[in-house]
Symmetry: C2
Subunit: 460 residues, 2 copies
């Protein structure tokens, strides 16, 4: 028996925050740690340079690995990311986000820490499942590992880097995405769809440097004033995105698609409670799921360059960057949406007649994914999940984005499946992120059985 809890704790202690360049060393430590673990299992491992740079340094590298080379077996690509979202104790964490803590909540054991759910828990479960198979002396399938280090920053360089190195991995028969959570806390979950993304930065530069508001207040056009006026015009009072043309390519809802939502058991109150949501925009559960999965949205994340600490500072910020992202759906084109957004913001700014300088940055774009839930990968996974957990797994889409899934499907000519590991209430991207130990161990067991079962299936 291999213990995924101990492995997860070691991974959490390395703050591999891809959004923070000063954490590049921690990300490197993380990927080398995983490499060493895979080498011990007998894998051939390549840490390949990211093909993309931020102008100063290359983005975090990608880990590629091969384990098993039997031409009569299926070859599975296993995808996860070793980077994590930013986290600071001051953000409202109860404990240090990079010091893993095991705690009992209502008789269940959880591991708390940044990345426990997203994606270090899934990585720990995967490595332990494979380790058990290696110890037992027979690999039911050939494994290919694709672990990137830039997912939380928009998968910087993923496509370029994998395009350059994918031939070393050889033929792939199926792609397993281990980067999602269960849809509820009570039933295992599989995903077959994600939204796309366009992440934008609205930069407004006024003075050369910050100005004391006693000196500048009333006599200079303040960049923050321009910025909040633009940000206030992106979503209307009915929560509709106001960018002209934004909804033009959204696929109309067919009766067949609408019917899919009839089969989903979804407890609105429990969903609110487990995610700490005090209010929702609709009380109709089906409408809510559609708004999250199949309709696009826009969120304002924050402002770089303005005063953001506690207390008061009487500063007029010189340069501010509003961070905005849009979640996109079939058949919106993220690059086209980014252009529409840029045009619209430029028009709003022009209307302000401000002498400040505007620059709109497309920080990241990513495709939506719409998979095939009738594929044998799904059929087998549903059976094993049902057997292990004693509950019918839910088959859902998600409001989040993993744009590299459609990319890999095309690159490898193989179908993908996304198997949830943690629970819905784990708080991925939020404070006090966690994973239930039962889920971690369960994922390891389920993956092991899944690999064994796929040995008897012709995947391609």
């Amino acid at each position: 028996m291999v213990d995924p809890v101990a492995l997860l704790k070691e991974l959490v202690r390395m703050p591999s925050v891809s959004a923070d360049p000063s954490r590049a060393g921690d990300s490197q430590r993380t990927v080398e740690f995983i490499r060493d673990r895979l080498v011990q299992l007998g894998a051939e491992v390549n840490i390949v340079d990211n093909e993309k740079t931020d102008g100063v340094r290359r983005y975090n590298p990608m880990l590629l690995a091969r384990l098993g080379d039997d031409p009569d077996k299926n070859t599975l690509a296993l995808y996860s990311h070793y980077d994590v979202q930013p986290a600071l104790l001051e953000d409202g964490w109860d404990t240090e986000p990079f010091e893993p803590l095991e705690r009992d909540i209502n008789g269940e054991s959880y591991i708390y820490g940044r990345g426990t759910n997203d994606d270090k828990g899934p990585i720990a479960a995967t490595l332990c499942a494979v380790e058990e198979l290696v110890q037992e002396g027979s690999l039911p399938v050939n494994f290919r590992f694709i672990y990137e280090g830039e997912e939380e920053s928009g998968s910087n360089g993923f496509e370029e880097t994998l395009r350059k190195h994918h031939e070393w991995l050889g033929k792939i028969d199926g792609i397993l995405i281990l980067d999602t959570s269960w849809f509820t806390d009570d039933a295992p979950g599989l995903d077959y769809g994600f939204r796309g993304l366009a992440y934008m930065g609205i930069e407004i530069q006024g003075p050369v440097k910050d100005v004391h508001s006693g000196l500048g207040g009333g006599i200079i056009p303040e960049p923050m004033d321009d910025l909040v006026k633009i940000l206030s015009r992106l979503v209307d009072g009915h929560n509709r995105v106001t960018v002209p043309g934004f909804y033009d390519d959204v696929a109309p809802l067919t009766p067949e698609e609408k019917a899919l939502y009839d089969n989903i058991s979804f407890d609105l109150e429990q969903f609110k409670q487990s995610n700490g949501l005090n209010a929702l925009l609709t009380d109709d559960p089906k409408q809510l799921l559609m708004d999250n999965w199949r309709n696009p949205s826009l969120s304002i994340h924050g402002i770089e360059g303005a005063f953001s600490e506690k207390g008061g500072k009487t500063v007029i910020p010189a340069k501010v960057i509003g961070k905005v992202s849009m979640r996109l759906v079939p058949n919106q084109d993220p690059k086209k949406i980014a252009e529409l957004f840029t045009d619209y913001v430029e028009k709003l700014f022009k209307d302000l007649k401000s002498p400040n300088r505007l620059t709109v940055h497309t920080m990241a774009t990513g495709d939506w994914w719409y998979g095939d839930p009738s594929h044998v990968l799904y059929e087998k996974a549903r059976g094993i999940l049902r057997d292990y957990w004693g509950v019918e797994p839910t088959l859902t889409r998600s409001g989040g984005s993993i744009p590299i899934i459609p990319f890999m499907e095309k690159l490898f000519g193989a179908s993908a499946i996304a198997i949830g590991v943690g629970q819905n209430s784990d708080g991925a991207h939020s404070q006090n992120e966690r994973i239930r130990v039962k889920n971690l161990v369960g994922a390891k067991e389920v993956l092991k059985r899944y690999f064994q079962m796929l040995s008897a299936v012709k995947l391609s």
Copy 2:
């Protein structure tokens, strides 16, 4: 000869940032350092607890000191603050803000570092001037020191604390404010007026904790969206504050007051350049000065709780606090303005029909000051400054706020004067704050002569 440069460097190395409670220890070190220095000069020193707390700890303490007790001499109260504005290298400083650096710029020597101009330079100059008088063996006046540690956070507890302890200081005949800069870079400056302040926090709480925008985008009412809609409605397209009743009590401009502006030499281009301003709201120099000195304004400083770092984070912030301050003028009442602001923001929020929760905080208020430039304190100061610098000093108001001046005038029944120390381009509150060594040494010399000259004057 005593060297204010070495003393200033020691002061800068202690990051006494009052806005950051985790810096309380550094503030304590700073005030104890100044105490020790004053004790060496023979002063009786009291570090008195701040009467106000933030709920957890008391705010930074106040230093009170007495040096000299001759009933036939005038007694001067010297005011400065030992706390400084926040500063981080990441804010765009060229060097570590709390590591003082001496650098030559166009043949002039400057000291760079947070607090060099505001207020550690003035403190160093004052202490050195007094030290020289002590060394020379005769004090021309009695000194009373009032050094607070919360000025940059709205002078928390100043009034309560000084009200409790002022009797220990005894009778005061004049108040010297050493917390201002020259109006230009080329002529020494005296101030006789400041604007008041109302610093507000607009807090909007949505979910219990931050939510991943993939999960929440499109289905929850986002606090950031409410906040930017409110912030966008505070100033109109003509830079007028939109809070109803805001301008009602602003004193009308009389012909006499208007005439005062005719005597001020003010180079708009140089002002822009030395403050790094790329654009101004008016090209009329007199109108600009009036908008800065005698008209009120509103600035948006930033948002606490939202994503503020570099890169991208796909988060929906759960609780955000918009930081806004208004600079106020005769005869606006800061407390009344804070109420008008609160009422207006509550109305704007109600119009949004958001299910989120709004709380408007009055974080700080402070009175404006309108002094008497014909007082003997000004007459003597003008003469000494003219003699020392060879230039007629400018007599100006300021757009900034030092609300404790009108408070001390009333408390002590004495007039105040504000003597500028650093230059206009020093960047108080901004990145790369600095002071010219010539100004530091000049302030020491001027203060020494001023004290000597005031020995022959009947102040009260």
